[in-house]
């Protein structure tokens, strides 16, 4: 007799466990968490790519010197351009690409048989800018004077476009995440309302015995919190193989080698994404608590 009289922790006065099933709601929240993890992966991936592009191509200028071996006076056009670059403020360093490096660059268009190409190739100089970099008009004028026909290409313009693209991707991912969160709120609210309808008699009895709105709402909120947290945990775990696969596919774009095996694939998931995915279960639990609590309190207003 003594055993049955001890009230176990989490005793279910209202029969909420029957009202909020431990199957449908966790499954739906798991699906939401899975989609949220993909949205997070999109956001984190876009951020990483933007940073990669920024650090790789930002702050670089490419200078093309046609007929680099031709002489103007006693020096070649290439040397005159190098000298002009060295004399220009805002330039940290220069690097002239070798013929082999040029052939590698041209390989996508001309194939591997570029050893004896007959068309004249320009010299290509990578210029690393310092600080805000040189004034573009001054630089173009100085190079034109040094070797007429020299072309100056700034990567900043492309980097800005790519950054805009990355920001758009981030915004899309954030929007997708917000939509998923909204749907999760709606799912929990509908499940809670269905639970309230099925336990209406019990709620009215407990209400009549003097239970506060907080007492009743807390019973439902605790149940919704547990179910949403479990569902999100399942969804997050289910998303990990997909995230690892995506991270493995994206690794070469970040100059990293493609990962080997499952451990390598899991290890290639960025730390930010790991942390974000780990936050999904507590976030879903918080949504479960707040949504169920609010839904029950609103429903209880119909009682005196």
């Amino acid at each position: 007799m003594t055993r049955s009289l001890l009230r176990p922790p989490g005793f279910d006065d209202l029969g909420v466990r029957r009202a909020l099933s431990d199957r449908l709601l966790p499954c739906l929240v798991a699906a939401m968490a899975f989609l949220a993890a993909l949205a997070l992966a999109g956001a984190v991936g876009a951020t990483a790519l933007a940073q990669h592009w920024q650090s790789g191509a930002g702050g670089m200028i490419t200078v093309q010197v046609p007929q680099p071996g031709d002489s103007i006076g006693s020096t070649t056009r290439l040397d005159r351009v190098r000298a002009a670059l060295t004399a220009t403020a805002g330039i940290a360093g220069t690097r002239t690409l070798s013929d082999d490096q040029l052939r590698v660059l041209l390989r996508p268009w001309l194939g591997t048989t570029t050893g004896d190409i007959s068309i004249p190739l320009p010299a290509v100089i990578d210029v690393q800018v310092a600080g805000a970099g040189p004034d573009r008009a001054t630089l173009v004028a100085a190079l034109e004077t040094a070797a007429p026909g020299t072309l100056v290409e700034e990567h900043d313009r492309w980097v800005k476009r790519l950054a805009t693209l990355a920001r758009s991707l981030q915004a899309c991912a954030a929007l997708a995440f917000a939509v998923v969160a909204f749907v999760a709120v709606a799912v929990i609210a509908v499940a809670t309302r269905a639970g309230l309808a099925s336990r209406r008699d019990a709620i009215e009895i407990v209400h009549g015995l003097g239970a506060t709105d907080q007492f009743i709402a807390r019973s439902f909120a605790q149940r919704a919190t547990v179910l949403a947290g479990i569902g999100a945990g399942i969804g997050a775990v289910a998303a990990l193989p997909v995230l690892a696969s995506l991270a493995g596919l994206a690794a070469p774009f970040g100059n990293a080698a493609a990962p080997d095996g499952i451990a390598g694939a899991v290890g290639s998931i960025p730390l930010t994404l790991w942390l974000s995915v780990l936050c999904l279960p507590p976030l879903a639990a918080a949504i479960g608590w707040l949504t169920a609590h609010r839904t029950v309190r609103r429903w209880l207003r119909r009682l005196p």
Binding site: S4, G15, A202, G208, L209, G210
Partner: protein, 222 residues
């Protein structure tokens, strides 16, 4: 303790709205005992719903346990309900809880410690003769046993006001007598008691002040 002044109650909404109580005015002093009489449909249960705050007056003023209901905030009502015990005609037990847990529920809602709840609930269930059925579910009990559980739940928190709707309806004569002795004892200890019944024999056996309703109106108060 209980004061009604021109109190009315409408039920339903819109076109289906019906007045079930009209301009009721009476007092029940602290420690009073009242029989509530009237034919079926006279409004006895509706009046008890008003007095246990399951419904709020549509008009008039209701004062319960020193609280004017019209001016009370929503958050004032739960503590007030905890001081009112009710025995419903249909028992209104929670089917998923055991007999013990049903009786312990008002004390748990009031936040009493489990040790004290255990003492009070077990003692009261012993008094109504259900010591051996603490773990039973309501569905496993007879109508009379369910009614005794409902009575135990109504009085376990030692209410200031006890309302009972046909409390002897499902009890045999011996159990009905025991219940009446319990109600009298509670009344003697200061609980205000209001009992709705059709059992005129019981009313004659335990004479007390009587309120008679007819079609939602109070026609006798003596």
């Amino acid at each position: 303790m209980v004061r009604l002044d021109q109190v009315g109650l409408d039920l339903g909404r819109g076109d289906t709205r019906t007045a079930v109580l009209h301009d009721l005015s009476f007092d029940v002093p602290e420690g009073g005992f009242r029989w509530l009489l009237g034919e079926s449909g006279a409004g006895k249960t509706s009046l008890l719903r008003l007095l246990c705050l399951s419904a709020l007056p549509t008009n008039g003023r209701l004062n319960l346990l020193g609280c004017d209901i019209a001016s009370a905030r929503r958050s004032d009502l739960p503590p007030l309900r905890r001081r009112i015990g009710v025995v419903f005609q249909d028992f209104r037990l929670l089917p998923h809880l055991s007999v013990y847990d049903n009786v312990a529920l008002p004390l748990r809602i009031a936040g009493r410690p489990e040790g004290q709840i255990r003492v009070d609930a077990v003692e009261l269930l012993g008094w109504v003769g259900l010591s051996r059925k603490l773990d039973a579910r309501p569905a496993e009990l007879s109508g009379g046993e369910q009614q005794r559980v409902a009575i135990a739940r109504a009085v376990v928190a030692r209410p200031l006001l006890l309302l009972a709707d046909e409390p002897t309806g499902n009890l045999d004569e011996e159990q009905a007598e025991r219940l009446m002795r319990l109600l009298q004892e509670l009344n003697r200890l200061g609980t205000t008691v209001l009992v709705a019944t059709h059992n005129t024999a019981m009313v004659h056996r335990y004479p007390a002040h009587t309120l008679r309703l007819h079609e939602g109106q109070l026609i006798r108060d003596d």
